[in-house]
């Protein structure tokens, strides 16, 4: 049997369903450090750089990372050079990638979402925009905007008015009802929902018993949160039938990717697993193809949502 790994996010065609999770793979840095032909054998079917904000951010005080049981806690704090520098310096270099580029943006205020989307609108190299309304490590009056359906609605509406590009909204799982937030994003014009950003957490130092992270609390990623992510993908894709979902949270194997697609995702993203192996995605894609073949599943379209049937 021929397995067709192609999938699409609206107008964005992907040669397979595995993209990277924002903030976990820096293609420009990896291209310098890893083998010379990284861009030619790029493992992801689309590339999302780390979230950019309107103004540069230096990020949170270190330490910014700590490994937990089957997980990773981070508090990077959206360190980035700002959207102007991104458009000027990074975007032209990323245009050399053989895959579509999806730009992730976050606001330090609600208005920023509209402004960022507007600034990207003119650039054809930008295939789609992801609104990160869910970073646990920057605070807008103490709470990330994606915790509240009304504020999410407003941020997405502003971006929607500013761009005709395919608009993805990335949600946080740290809410009482994620379907409510997803519905607000959809209502405000989102074309796609990305699930999940990291889970709120904290660790203490073994010896000093003080919080390890400079920012005190952080976001948990990796296999530990996979059940939380599968549930979110299942519930949201079931509730918002028709709107594609990008699933992520702990994917490390082709089997994991298979499960997220079956749960309802049209594409999946690999995050923390890139740190175990920077080319993990290549293995994941080939395993996924093999597993679909074994199960007689001919295409990603056929696979998406199988768990709900």
């Amino acid at each position: 049997m021929e397995v067709n790994l192609k999938t699409r996010l609206g107008p964005v065609e992907l040669r397979h369903p595995v993209i990277n999770a924002s903030g976990t793979f820096d293609a420009l840095s990896a291209d310098l450090v890893l083998e010379a032909d990284l861009f030619d054998r790029f493992p992801f079917s689309a590339y999302i750089p780390k979230t950019v904000t309107l103004r540069p951010r230096e990020g949170n005080k270190p330490p910014r990372l700590y490994e937990t049981a089957a997980g990773l806690l981070n508090s990077i704090g959206l360190a980035n050079g700002g959207i102007d520098a991104f458009i000027k310096d990074d975007l032209p270099r990323l245009a050399r990638l053989p895959v579509p580029v999806i730009v992730s943006v976050a606001g330090e205020s609600t208005d920023d979402y509209g402004d960022c989307a507007g600034l990207l609108e003119a650039h054809p190299e930008v295939a789609a925009i992801e609104l990160n309304v869910s970073c646990p490590n920057i605070e807008l009056g103490g709470r990330s905007l994606g915790l509240d359906p009304k504020r999410t609605h407003r941020a997405v509406s502003l971006a929607r008015s500013a761009t005709s590009k395919f608009l993805i909204v990335k949600l946080t799982p740290n809410v009482t009802d994620i379907v409510e937030i997803a519905a607000a994003a959809a209502d405000a014009g989102a074309d796609c929902i990305s699930l999940i950003n990291t889970v709120h957490g904290m660790v203490l130092d073994h010896w000093s018993l003080k919080p390890v992270l400079g920012h005190i609390t952080g976001g948990l990623s990796g296999p530990a949160i996979k059940p939380v992510a599968i549930r979110a993908v299942f519930l949201v894709s079931q509730a918002l039938d028709g709107l594609p979902v990008i699933g992520m949270g702990g994917i490390t194997t082709g089997q994991n990717a298979l499960e997220f697609l079956a749960a309802g995702a049209a594409a999946v993203a690999v995050g923390t697993a890139n740190f175990r192996n920077p080319l993990a995605a290549a293995d994941i894609v080939s395993e996924l193809g093999g597993l679909m073949q074994e199960r007689g599943i001919g295409s990603v379209e056929e696979l998406t949502g199988l768990a709900q049937k």
């Binding site: 450090v33 330490p63 049981a69 089957a70 990077i76 175990r276």
Partner: protein, 262 residues
């Protein structure tokens, strides 16, 4: 200290030896690509190959030594990840990404003083060798908590070594930095030595202070929690004089004057 332009590779490397050296485990594995390229002060991201998700991520490990196809690391088992690495048995396979980071800048001239605290001695063996090969005079100050922690002086065969312990149970009593001011001044007419240091943060801060005071250059290798080792995650930063710097790609070796010291 330029970002390495040498490509790092990811290899599965069989362990061929695991022996006790001082309080640490010296683990040797077959890694021809890394052995061929590694420079003193560079590091690798290492984990036991396999599917277990605990530990989840590789750990940064300095290249301790290279012997034809073999790479050696010296492991201090301080937590979950290092305990797993220290327990690697002959025949086990390691997943290794490297060499990574900039390594020490060897291009300066004149004498070199190497200052190490505890495990910080690990990367300095190769450095001492490389500096001696370049005809530079090398003296080493090696500080440890106590006798059982001292690293066998054989690791630094040809260099001039002074061992210090905090409790005086081996070598001189004191900290690695104690003899440093004496080594730097009091040598009229000679080029002032360059310092190369690796060890705990407090020791590096003291080295930086002494270097500034005496007007000598100090290259310091700093530690940080790392997730990726290749500049992807922004997790490993230290405060530079202007902005945060990534230890994995802009370091781990920095000129002490480029960092902010508290």
């Amino acid at each position: 200290m330029d970002a390495g332009l040498i490509p790092a590779s990811l290899c599965e490397c069989p362990v061929v030896e695991n022996r006790q050296v001082g309080a640490y485990r010296q683990v040797s594995f077959v890694a021809p690509e890394i052995a061929a390229l590694a420079q003193p002060g560079q590091f690798m991201m290492v984990r036991l190959a396999g599917e277990s998700l605990d530990p989840l991520l590789p750990r940064p490990m300095g290249v301790h030594d290279v012997d034809s196809d073999l790479v050696k690391m010296l492991v201090d088992p301080v937590g979950k990840g290092t305990v797993a690495l220290a327990g690697a048995a002959v025949g086990d396979r390691l997943s290794v990404l490297g060499p990574l980071g900039n390594g020490f800048d060897l291009e300066g001239g004149g004498p070199a003083v190497l200052v190490a605290g505890g495990m910080g001695a690990a990367p300095l063996t190769m450095l001492a060798g490389a500096l001696l090969t370049r005809g530079r005079e090398v003296s080493c100050l090696l500080g440890f908590r106590t006798r059982s922690q001292t690293l066998a002086a054989e690791l630094f065969q040809e260099a001039d070594i002074e061992v210090l312990t905090e409790d005086g149970s081996a070598g001189r009593q004191g900290l690695a930095c104690d003899p440093l001011p004496g080594l730097l001044d009091g040598q009229p007419g000679r080029t002032k030595p360059e310092i190369f240091a690796c060890g705990p943060a407090a020791m590096l801060a003291e080295v930086a202070r002494i270097a500034r005071q005496q007007g000598v250059r100090a290259q310091v290798s700093v530690a940080a929690h790392m997730a990726c080792g290749i500049g992807s995650c922004q997790g490993c930063v230290v405060k530079g004089s202007a902005s945060y710097l990534k230890v994995c790609t802009e370091g781990p070796v920095f000129d002490a004057k480029d960092l902010e010291w508290k």
